[in-house]
């Protein structure tokens, strides 16, 4: 069991080392997917908004870590 737990920790560590950072990314994907179409921006804007939010999350996380 301990070995399986270790393997699972290794696998999850591939995607998450800062929980807040990972959660922010997942939440932002959800926002763009579920909420943005209701605002009527059009599909051409969804990609741009997706990238802009991810860039802001990266900047905030690095800034927070440096502080």
């Amino acid at each position: 069991m301990r070995r399986i737990g270790g393997v699972l920790r290794e696998l999850s560590g591939l995607f998450v080392d800062d929980g807040r950072f990972a959660l922010s990314i997942v939440v932002w994907i959800g926002v763009v997917w579920l909420l943005l179409p209701r605002l009527g921006l059009g599909p051409a804007w969804e990609g741009v908004v997706l990238f802009t939010g991810l860039a802001a999350i990266l900047l905030e996380s690095a800034w927070r870590q440096a502080g």
Partner: protein
Amino acid sequence: MLVGGWAQAGPSMLAAFLASLVEGVEALTVVLAVGSVRGWRGALSGGAAALVVLLAVVAVLGRALTLIPLDLIQAGVGGLLLLFGLRWLRKAVLRAAKIIPLHAEDAVFARETEALGRAGGLGAGPWGDWLGFATSFQATMLEGTEVVFIVVAIGAGKNGLLVPASLGAVGAVIAVIILGVAIRRPLSAVPENALKLLVGCLLSAFGTFWVGEGIGARWPGGDWAIGGLIVGFLAVASIAVRLCRARVPLCERASGSVSP
């Protein structure tokens, strides 16, 4: 002719090549340490056995993912690729800004050599020294798992991309093996963090593009938007490094040392 076209095949091959180069250099350091202390037979057979397992995983996973609808794959694998790529990018930014220490191959080699020299023997088998075999196998599997994920995730995003991604990874493994045989020392001159930053941008760009496609977004320029996203993430990473450097005084920055 590549099905995905060069707009996707080129960056996917480059991302797999560079990521495999970085991980290959890290695995090579441990294999070299094992070989110099416990003997080359166990070190090389452990590394080779791990490579065979990893190739089998790519073949099985790559084929299995083609059975799932593409938009589901793009949203799911794209999301994982985003988590993975942005995590790499964030770490590379923090290392470039000296917030966390750099990964130094010479220090890893010295640490592994000392630990393996102190360890007792587990006996020898047909594949050489068992401890050497196990250490080499584990190190190659650990580093190779990230490569397998990258190759499979990139390959699953669009039909025809598994081949260029696999070719990129195999090319990097061959390059690392040739360099390792020629130099027989850790490849500490490889600018590892700069490569990781670039790979982080490439993977984040692919992840963003596929999540966008998976949720029904339309990208300006179609597949060529991947190039724009790569440039965009490079610009953001560059700004992040400058911001972090400005925030931390020079005397408090991490000096070059080992970090996983």
